[in-house]
Structure formats: C-alpha cells, structure tokens
C-alpha cells in the first residue's frame, strides 16, 4: 500500500476514546496483514541470504556425453558406436531426444530453453559415408526444434523440410573435365563434390537452439526434438537406410518466475485486541494489546505479510550474480586432439586456447563456488573456418574439435566431455590432377558451444580462475584449426 497516515492523534485536552485509538493503529495492523509492499521497504532491504531457493530463476537440465568416435587420425573411419548415441528414428515424425526431456512444475512463469546437440552420420566402418567417393547422392537430412508442452516451437525449427525447394540437394553438376589435357564440356559424374544438402551436409557438427516461451500454470515439459525429412530413406552402399545419430547433447530450461502459483491469504495480526466502547482502558492494556503485538509482528514479519507482487528489484538482489564475456579475432590452433576423456589442458600436443594472440575467448574470474554456490552457464561461439593439413588432400575428412574448459587457481585445467564439438569441413573442392593438394576447402561455420556447470550443491575442486574455449585439430599431427571470430559468455546465478 502507499504511504499511510495515522488517522488523527490523541490530544492532551481530549479523552482517548476507544474508536480514536483504533483509528490510530488500524492502518498499521491492516498493512501488516498481507498488504506490505515496495512502499513499506527501503531499497536494498534484503540481502541475498533472504532469497528463497530459485526465487526468480530455477534450472532444469540434462546432459548426455557421447563420443562421435572421430578422433584418431585423418581419414580414419571410426569403429564402434558410442553406447550413448541416440538414433534418429526413421519415418519423419518429430521424436524427442528422450534422455534430455525435462518436466517441472511452474506458476506464472516463462522458460528460456536452450537445446544443444552434436549430430553425425553413422560411425560404423562398414558404411563409408565419411569418405570421398560418396556412396549416396543424397545425404540424410534432419531438422531440430524445441518442443514445449507438446508444441513444436515453429520459430526454432532448423533447415528446410522439402526436397522440392530450390535449396534442396543439388546432387551432381557438370564439374571436372574428364581429361585435363582435353578440356570438354561433357558432363561428368563428380563423385567427390556432393556437399550441398538441405539440412545436413556435415558429417558431424552441432546445433544450438534458444527460445523463450510463456508457460501455463501447472507443469511444463521441455524437449529437444529431431526428425528426418524427405527423402528419409536415404540408403548407403549396403542398401541400408543411412542412420543419423545424436552424440553429445544438453538441454537447459531456465525457469523464469514471474510469480508463484496462488497467493497467500492475508492473515490477521495475532495478539492485537482493540478497545471497545463501554469498557475501561488501562494504560497497560494499550501496550499489551496493541503496541507490543504490533511491534512484535513488525519485528518478525513473515513473507505472507508482503503483498503478492509487492517488491521491486531494488529491494532484493537478483539471483544473477554476473555475466562475463570475452571475445577474440582470428587465430589458429596447431594441436593434436588428445582424445575423448582428455582433461582439456592447454598445452602443446593437446588443446590450444582460442586466442588471436592478444585477446582470448577466456572469461576470467576468479570464482570461489565453495563459498558462493552457483549455477554456471557457458555459451560460446567460434566462427570456424576450416580444419586443414596441407599434406592431406581429402579435406572433408579433417576435423576440428572445440571444447569448453575451466582452469583452477592451481593452474590445472578441467573439462566436461559433453561440451566437446567435432566438426568436419563440409564444403570442399576435391583435389584433382592439376590441383592435388586441394586447398580449396571451405567451412565457415558457426560453432556453437554450451556448457553447464552446476555448483549449487557440490563445489568444484578449487577456486576457478577462468573458463575458456579450447580447440584442437583432430589428426595425428601437422594440421591446424582456423577461426575468424570467437566469444564466450559465462552466466553465474546464485541458487
């Protein structure tokens, strides 16, 4: 309520009628009975310790680490399928990546949903879809979307959904003269160059989707969904429908609480007894029945004394503690991927920091999450240009690897496997006789990374000095991973 005045004052020459006393104190009692609001409290009234758990933000997430298997040597065809890989069903219907699905109860809330996954073709050695000399003229295509409460969010769908579009796979165009010495316009079947597809021309890459949606009261279900799109029966040389798998994947639903469901009913102030006409009033009864109960309550308010939607943001600290962003320009990493399960250590022969030599995609702390439990979200982007090795012609088979790591104050790096991102060069001109080293490859892809570090209930091993984007080249050596711009954003919320 707004500013309240006492209704009159007692006069020295008057008699303290009961009604006059009631008039004086009733506004205070009425306010305390569930009507207190921002007018009653000073700015900065409450410290962070007064925040209820998940006061404004709550976090619902799932992560599944799954190795693409593409990381031993150039042109290596991985063998074996990671047991955590998720097979995109045939048939073309939207399917939830079920182990990411999150359901939670909500009031009058919104959700900021962020889905991320790495997808790729089958890693089994028998189906040589990674290699040049593609076995199929059309690669399987997939679309992704966020689905909330059963509704596919139309403005999160990725990629076109029809092969009739002008942007559909172009298959093969006249390309290379049959004989370089005898140039000819004859059409030739280019078995190298099929890279153009509607939605999936990468062997492996990842995708990240974000959306904000208002939620109805009750419960909410947030899913990351995927489907194959026509022709969804793309076959490989063995006559099998070529599978598409989802590997590393994460889904985060940040519950943004506009209000909790329901409102507390105002409760009368206990202990307050008003004098009534026709009865005697003792001085002690004024203290015992009015002033003391009011001050006792005012010194021990419950949250229900505050009106619904009563406070402003100036009166209690936000759960969001900080955001730290770091950016850098072009650079390269000449490293050798140390393999799945590596620690993320930035060192020769392992991972390299994404840096332009002056600035780095490294957000600096330090943060002591042992003393301030926190939920940490890391989003990062890198304008990946290519993974290349001048000595190797088959550039589509070269992979860049990106990841997110943290660095303890002790100097030790740590990394979550689930944050790794493997990407090949999707768009190359194949090497040929007059151009054997094939430097015409091109990738230019927005590498999207997402990391969730939940330190709300369990602290990391040490104080964390920084989070950084790391990169490496997936080969036995000699190659580089090149990018043009990069950024990292670290969001830190207190519980």
């Amino acid at each position: 309520m707004g500013y309240r005045f006492s209704r009159g004052v007692l006069r020295k020459t008057g008699f303290p009628y009961p009604q006059r006393i009631v008039d004086q104190v009733a506004p205070a009692a009425e306010e305390m009975a569930g009507r207190l609001n921002d007018h009653n409290f000073v700015n900065g009234a409450f410290p962070a310790a007064r925040r209820g758990a998940g006061m404004l933000y709550d976090f619902h997430y799932a992560t599944v680490a799954s190795d693409t298997g593409i990381h031993t040597s150039v042109n290596d065809i991985p063998t074996g399928l990671d047991p955590n890989a998720f097979l995109v069903p045939d048939g073309g219907a939207w399917a939830a990546i079920s182990d990411l699905t999150k359901t939670f109860s909500c009031g009058q809330d919104s959700v900021w949903a962020i889905g991320w996954c790495q997808y790729g073709l089958t890693p089994t050695g028998a189906v040589v879809t990674f290699d040049v000399g593609l076995s199929t003229l059309v690669k399987p295509r997939v679309q992704f979307a966020l689905r909330i409460n059963g509704v596919v969010m139309a403005n999160t769908v990725t990629g076109i959904d029809t092969s009739a579009s002008d942007e559909a796979p172009r298959s093969v165009y006249p390309v290379v003269p049959v004989d370089a010495a005898t140039p000819s316009h004859n059409l030739s079947t280019d078995t190298y160059s099929l890279r153009g597809t509607g939605s999936m021309n990468w062997h492996v890459r990842s995708i990240r989707l974000q959306a904000k949606v208002g939620l109805p009261q009750g419960s909410a279900t947030v899913e990351l969904v995927v489907r194959r799109i026509p022709p969804n029966d793309v076959q490989n040389l063995s006559g099998e429908i070529e599978p598409v798998y989802i590997y590393n994947r994460s889904l985060l639903a940040i519950q943004l609480k506009e209000s909790e469901a329901g409102a507390s009913a105002p409760t009368p102030i206990p202990g307050v007894t008003y004098p009534v006409d026709g009865t005697s009033i003792s001085k002690a009864s004024l203290t015992d029945n009015i002033l003391t109960p009011l001050t006792t309550n005012l010194n021990n308010l419950s949250q229900t004394a505050i009106a619904q939607w009563g406070l402003r943001r100036e009166q209690i600290p936000s759960q969001l503690q900080n955001i730290v962003q770091a950016t850098c320009d072009a650079g390269t990493t000449s490293r050798i991927y140390p393999g799945w399960g590596s620690t993320g250590t930035v060192a020769p022969g392992q991972w390299g920091l994404v840096t332009d030599g002056v600035n780095s995609a490294q957000a600096n702390g330090p943060w002591n999450f042992a003393t301030t439990p926190s939920f940490v979200l890391v989003l990062a982007n890198v304008a990946h240009k290519k993974a290349s090795d001048p000595g190797i012609a088959a550039d589509a088979e070269q992979y860049g690897v990106y990841g997110l790591s943290g660095k303890y104050s002790t100097g030790t790096y740590f990394k979550q496997n689930v944050n790794e991102f493997h990407i090949n060069n999707p768009n190359i001109t194949p090497p040929w006789a007059a151009f054997p080293t094939g430097t015409m490859y091109d990738c230019d892809t927005d590498v999207q990374l997402m990391g969730i570090f939940d330190y709300r209930t369990s602290a990391p091993a040490n104080i964390i000095d920084s989070f950084q984007v790391i990169s490496t080249y997936d080969a036995s050596g000699g190659g580089t991973c090149t990018w043009s711009h990069a950024s990292i954003q670290v969001y830190i919320w207190h519980p």
Partner: protein, 251 residues
C-alpha cells in the same frame, strides 16, 4: 534500520503521556514508531528469522524482462533473399527482417543477453584474383552476418559463409569454367552480452552483407583483358533466410 523499539509504551501507575503515545504510533525517529517505520523504512531486520523471499512477492517485470520474436518458414521464402550489394562498404549492411527486436527495461540490468538464431542458405561464388596464373589464386569478398546490439556492431558475432560455387581450377583454360554448384544450409546462434547496459531500450538486430563481383573480371582470368562487363554480368551472390528468431533477456 534495526528492529523497532517504541520509546514510550504506556504502563499502569503513571500518568498517560499523550505525546509519547502519539510518537509511538508515528514519529520521524528511525526505529521508534510503528507507522513511521512502516512508511518506507522496513528492511531485513523486520523479517522473521528463517523467512525467505519467493517469486510471489516480486513484481512481474522487475526480476527480468524478456523479448522474443521470430519469423520465416522452413521453405525459405524468396522474399527473404538478399542479392548483390555494392559497393562493399559499411553502409551496405542490411537488416534481416524477423531478427530485429527491442525491449524497454525500466531498471538497470545486471546483464543483458542478446541472441539471434536461425538458418539460411547461401550462394557464393569463389573468385580468382590473379589474371594469368598457372594455378588459380582464389579470393574475393565474403558475405557476412553480424549482430548489432544497442546500436553497436559486435565484431565477434561476424560470421562468413562458405563458397558454394567454384569456377575452373585451372584458370588458363576457358573450358574449365564449368563449375559445381553447392548449396549449404547453415544454422547460427549468435550471442552477445552486455554488463554495462543502462535502463531504457535494449535492442538487437541481425545484419547481412552480400558483396557482388564482376564475373568477367574474376571468373575467367583468361579473358581479363576484355572490357569491363556490364552490370548484368555481376555474379549474383545470394543468401536466403529461413526460420530465425531474436531473443533479449535483461536480468
């Protein structure tokens, strides 16, 4: 403020002090009256031990403010196609519809997250830059997208798109003009955050730059001695946007 302690509190056995009573009800002394304290001076000390604040008592729009919008289809309308832009200058960046959004934030945010995501396809000619080489030297301008947040270009969000159309690998052979066309669908999810934003409008938009190049100059070096081509010989680089979205979260 500390807890409230009333200075008078009438008691039996003494004369009733009217001024003391009135002051207990309302005075300007901090922590010494009921209404005086309730009128904007209550604070943490007045809340009972163990009581915590929940979302129930926060005004909607005070904890965070969001804006989210999107546009496009999975078919990629031609309406959303951007074609040649020349010359290649800062002025030629265009705003992509459906990726521009703004929201008014009445308080000073701790941080603002700007995000634009979506997918597109591009058609981009790979050019040669040397006039008479034995082996082509390739180059030429890129086509880019980038974010502009609160009116400021964010260089780190600049994203080029790959070449999709290749001329001859041997530029000394006119016949080698035969080329392969490849179309790629790209998804992007660009982020920028600000921790220095002030109360007021927060805005984000996606911009695109599509350069054009002269075909005869750049595609067939063998013919480079010929006269400059007419405008209709410009290579039609293009980029088409499908579904895309803009999200602002002020926190």
């Amino acid at each position: 403020m500390a807890n409230i302690t009333l200075p008078y509190l009438p008691a039996d056995g003494a004369a009733f002090n009217v001024d003391g009573w009135n002051a207990d009800i309302k005075s300007t002394t901090a922590g010494a009256s009921i209404l005086g304290e309730m009128n904007g001076k209550l604070n943490n000390a007045n809340l009972a031990a163990g009581q915590q604040i929940s979302a129930r008592v926060i005004k909607p729009g005070e904890g965070f403010t969001l804006a989210f919008d999107g546009e496009g289809t999975t078919r990629i309308f031609y309406d959303d196609t951007f074609r040649q832009v020349a010359p290649f200058t800062e002025d030629e960046w265009l705003v992509v519809p459906g990726c521009a959004h703004r929201v008014y934030v009445p308080w000073t945010p701790i941080g603002v997250s700007f995000n634009v995501g979506g997918f597109c396809t591009n058609f981009r000619m790979r050019e040669t830059t040397n006039s008479n080489p034995g082996v082509a030297v390739y180059g030429g301008p890129d086509m880019y997208i980038r974010l502009r947040c609160n009116g400021v270009v964010q260089a780190h969000t600049r994203r080029p798109f790959p070449f999709t159309w290749y001329p001859a690998s041997n530029p000394t052979k006119a016949d080698y003009l035969v080329a392969r066309e490849q179309v790629l669908t790209h998804s992007f999810d660009l982020n920028h955050t600000s921790t220095t934003a002030v109360a007021g409008w927060q805005s984000v938009r996606l911009e695109v730059l599509v350069p054009r190049t002269q075909g005869i100059e750049n595609i067939i070096p063998l013919y480079r001695t010929a006269a400059a081509s007419a405008a209709d010989h410009y290579i039609r680089h293009r980029i088409r946007f499908g579904i895309r979205r803009a999200l602002i979260v002020a926190m």
